[in-house]
């Protein structure tokens, strides 16, 4: 039985309240815009209003600002930002600051500082700017055509990288040729804006005396930001301190250093004053990385019995105006994870990353895997429709079985542990218990759809990151200390951004050390005190990699205290137990030395066993041996209004396995939030560009995200197959809600309205788009 076990006596697996919530609920959170430093002034960023051209004039002489830095001054004072995820042969690997060639609306070209944000915006309006405009292209397939405007004319193409993942083309074609049936579709995943509720922002403060730069930044990756800031500003790493305060969400969009954040830091160095910059929401829609935006020409081959043989895709990915920090990474991961939970003898993907005159695309919850799930799970449902079989049965028949794990996919993923069949079977049982609405309205159609996925979490072994060209270390360090008074401090390089990692790391330390949760303080987000974390909180890795380090460090520290207590009681360490804060010799209740007394004496260096070091601090560096593969299956029940095109989600079910669960309340919360974002992708969200590559969805009135009424209460079932290679057994939990949700909703829509099933190839299935599909299918003839 793998259904998540109850562990009543343990803090691991306990549904405890989050430790930092009272502060946030009382309005005492400290987000970056709440940081106030004496003498602070305010910046605004000057951005290109055109999508392609050359900035001929930047004249700030009459603007009246405290400081205005134009492109030439910025370029002269900075080094380019290095992209960290590089594809084979990638033609562009760095991003210039202060480039006079502009390639997207929103590209930063200058920074203006004044006494208030409003005054800085006024001053920016008074800067004289003159551009020579160039022709534009926003769509990646148009950018591939002969004669398309070129963003880097010297390349002679807009293709920044062209590579394969998995089997080579010959192997894939040979496998497809052997298939009895091949389902082939053009599937599209549009451009998404991650949209955390808190936009980006920094407060930069240059201390000219100490020659130190302190930057408060709303970031998921404080050390990454520090390293890149130091390089870009020609400082040494020790001169830069990055502090990430409370984060108002990130979802991937805050995983690196942006050019405008360097400009604000440079402004502080020039002025010798603290400078604050807070991105506004309209700005956010063009200045912060977008995500997805991929076209897949995909094929699923199977034998005459419906057994999958091969899966392949030709991916045309829109990189935007330049490769982002992660560049083609999401498109690559779409390829790596395309096989999902199913057996294939061959799988291979060609990826082309294409430049266009749009905001660069990068990381967002689901990172390439939501796209892979969209492609694969739609193809599976299309195959089931063509074969006339039940889509759940087709999935179950093709899933890698528990006894086949570990399993290496043709795309070289070493699936570790789990039971995908169990998860989907359990889901089907959950769905079968639903109450079907007895609505007699013939203009409402109902259907249930399914989707399954395996997720790449816990990035990742550093050697794997080297193989895929991701220039960041993948290990995490945990430092656990018991102070002389018995209180516990946990330091980690991962970052809290709302996912609750402060609480779950505290649960682990408290559990292993045998102290109450309230005794543990978790400190994160300050590069001056946190252990080095190159990758930070991305890729569902905080608990897996960071938590693994804290697990081992806590156990080692607990063992040390037990040895010391045993020595002080003249007993064997194996006979010592910790009961209610007192170390005792088992079976001898009269003995006892208090936890706090052991802590105090160890920090004095008194009464230690021979060879034992004084002090109670353990540092553990955790380099995972493998990726951790979480998985989930989703089901949605939808009602489609044939007359309005509105899709209403009436029920939603999830089975989820993320290895050992530290706090089921928090994991459920991650699933719920992830599904909501997936529903947004399925039904509402799409960033669009119009004429001359002008963005046309730059507010929450144009770019719609789900509201409460759009997201039903989910029914969630957990299974728990620990990661065999992770101390504690945890796998990532942050993205499995988002990854299969759009495909699941679409499969439900296709099941509800079979007449349009073959056309459900692109999200969002907004009322407008749905109405068109329904109309084209002749479902409005009655009117």
């Amino acid at each position: 039985m793998t259904v998540a076990p109850e562990r009543p006596a343990s803090l691991v697996g306990a549904r405890v309240r989050r430790v930092n919530d009272p502060r946030l609920l009382r309005g005492e959170g400290r987000y970056v815009d709440d940081v106030h430093v004496a003498g602070m002034v305010h910046a605004t960023i000057v951005r290109s209003p055109i999508a392609h051209g050359v900035l001929r004039t930047f004249d700030a002489s009459a603007c009246g600002a405290l400081l205005a830095l134009g492109p030439d001054e910025i370029a002269a004072a900075t080094r380019p930002l290095q992209c960290v995820w590089l594809a084979e042969g990638q033609r562009q690997t760095e991003v210039l600051l202060g480039d006079r060639r502009v390639r997207y609306v929103g590209q930063p070209v200058g920074v203006v500082v004044a006494l208030s944000r409003a005054a800085a915006e006024d001053a920016a309006e008074l800067i004289e700017l003159d551009y020579d405009e160039l022709p534009t292209v926003a769509d990646q397939e148009q950018a591939l055509r002969d004669g398309a405007p070129l963003l880097q004319p010297e390349w002679g193409t807009n293709v920044a990288a062209d590579f394969r993942v998995g089997d080579d083309a010959e192997t894939v074609e040979a496998a497809m040729a052997r298939a009895a049936r091949v389902v082939e579709r053009r599937l599209v995943i549009p451009r998404i804006v991650p949209s955390p509720m808190e936009t980006r922002g920094v407060v930069a403060s240059w201390d000219a005396n100490l020659r130190e730069l302190t930057v408060w930044s709303s970031t998921q990756t404080p050390h990454h930001v520090r390293d890149h800031l130091a390089t870009s500003l020609r400082l040494s790493a020790d001169q830069v301190r990055v502090i990430a305060p409370d984060l108002g969400g990130g979802f991937g969009s805050k995983e690196h250093l942006y050019p405008d954040e360097v400009m604000v830091s440079l402004a502080s160095m020039r002025l010798g004053r603290p400078v604050k910059w807070i991105e506004d929401r309209v700005e956010h829609f063009t200045a912060t990385m977008h995500a997805r935006d991929a076209v897949h020409y995909a094929r699923l081959g199977m034998d005459e019995d419906g057994r999958f043989v091969a899966i392949a895709s030709d991916v045309i990915g829109n990189l935007g105006a330049h490769p982002s920090n992660v560049g083609t990474g999401p498109f690559r991961i779409s390829g790596s994870m395309l096989p999902g939970p199913y057996r294939f003898s061959s799988a291979g993907v060609r990826v082309r990353g294409v430049l266009t005159n749009t905001t660069p695309t990068g990381a967002y919850r689901g990172f390439g895997m939501q796209e892979a799930a969209w492609v694969r799970e739609r193809l599976v449902d299309e195959a089931a429709r063509e074969l006339g079989v039940d889509p759940v049965e087709l999935r179950l028949m093709n899933m890698v079985r528990e006894d086949e794990l570990p399993h290496t996919t043709p795309t070289l993923q070493d699936y570790d542990s789990g039971d995908y069949v169990e998860g989907l079977s359990m889901l089907r049982d959950m769905v079968s218990k639903r109450e079907v609405p007895s609505d007699a309205n013939p203009r409402i159609r109902r259907g249930v759809g399914y989707g399954s996925q395996v997720e790449f979490t816990g990035l990742g072994p550093s050697p794997v990151q080297k193989i895929v060209g991701f220039h960041l270390g993948g290990f995490e360090t945990g430092v656990v200390r018991v102070d002389p008074d018995g209180s516990v401090v946990v330091s980690s390089g991962v970052m809290g951004m709302g996912q609750g990692i402060e609480t779950t790391l505290a649960q682990i330390a408290a559990d292993k050390l045998g102290v109450p949760l309230e005794k543990v303080r978790v400190t994160l987000g300050d590069t001056k005190v946190a252990p080095y974390s190159a990758s930070g909180s991305i890729a569902s890795r905080s608990m897996t990699v960071g938590g693994g380090a804290v697990t081992r460090a806590s156990i080692a520290l607990s063992d040390k205290m037990r040895r010391i207590a045993a020595h002080q009681m003249e007993a064997d360490a194996g006979d010592v137990e910790l009961v209610d804060g007192v170390f005792r010799v088992k079976g001898v209740p009269s003995t006892g030395v208090a936890f706090g007394d052991v802590a105090a004496s160890t920090w004095l260096g008194w009464d230690l066993p021979p060879g034992e070091e004084a002090g109670l601090e353990v540092k553990d560096m955790h380099e995972p041996a493998n990726i951790s593969y979480s998985y989930s299956s989703h089901a949605a029940a939808v009602a489609v209004d044939l007359d309005t095109g509105k899709v209403h989600i009436e029920g939603y079910w999830v089975t989820h396995d993320s290895g050992t669960v530290i706090n089921p309340m928090i994991v459920d919360g991650q699933v719920m939030g992830g599904v909501a974002q997936g529903i947004g992708i399925a039904l509402y969200e799409k960033m669009t560009y119009g004429e001359a590559a002008q963005p046309t969805t730059t507010s929450f009135l144009d770019y719609l995200v789900p509201l409460s009424g759009d997201v039903p209460d989910l029914v969630i079932g957990h299974t728990e197959h620990p990661a065999p290679h992770i101390p504690g057994g945890m796998k990532g939990a942050g993205e499995g809600g988002t990854i299969p949700a759009p495909a699941t909703v679409a499969n439900a829509v296709a099941a509800a309205v079979p007449e349009i099933a073959g056309k459900v190839l692109e999200t969002p299935l907004s009322p407008g788009r749905m109405w068109e599909l329904l109309h084209e299918a002749g479902l409005h003839d009655r009117l």
Partner: protein
């Protein structure tokens, strides 16, 4: 108007307002939004700014008892009035019943949208409205990007049922 006028304050005015039960007086620019006035002139940073175009609801506060988006009002408009922010619906120690229900049900993750939600629900409850019946309506004015809303709804239901003891 030139930039010098802006920064030297020709358009400054004085706003007198009762905020969270205290009489507050501050000089601010006529164009200052209520959200910026609360945050930057009065230092009440519990009110968060998510979109500045009235769509997300993060900056919701109570003005004369009614929930409003503070980014869609000017500070001068509340002159002589009464404003309640998240700080004003928070007890000196601990949490209010609504806040405690949000904590119990994991009704927040990053917490950025939370003060606005608290003000909307608390405002409706104080006005004697049936919060449980108006749940969709009340939450419909708030974007939360983290929770998927399910636990926010659970928290408000728990609060309506009388809190942790009554609800469980």
């Amino acid at each position: 108007m030139t930039i010098d006028d802006t920064v030297t304050g020709v358009d400054l005015c004085e706003v007198t307002v009762i905020v969270n039960g205290q009489l507050r007086r501050a000089r601010t620019e006529v164009r200052t939004l209520l959200s910026d006035f609360l945050r930057h002139d009065l230092g009440l940073t519990g009110t968060h700014v998510g979109c500045e175009h009235g769509a997300c609801g993060a900056c919701t506060v109570l003005v004369d008892g009614t929930a409003v988006r503070a980014c869609l009002m000017l500070a001068v408009q509340v002159d002589g009035g009464e404003v309640t922010t998240v700080e004003g619906i928070t007890p000196d120690e601990g949490l209010s019943p609504l806040q405690d229900a949000m904590w119990a049900e994991h009704g927040l993750q990053c917490g950025f949208c939370t003060p606005g939600i608290l003000c909307s629900v608390e405002g409706a409850a104080r006005a004697g409205e049936n919060v449980g019946e108006r749940l969709d309506d009340l939450l419909g004015g708030h974007i939360c990007r983290c929770t998927g809303y399910q636990n926010v709804r659970a928290a408000v239901r728990l609060y309506c049922a009388g809190g942790q003891e009554a609800g469980r």
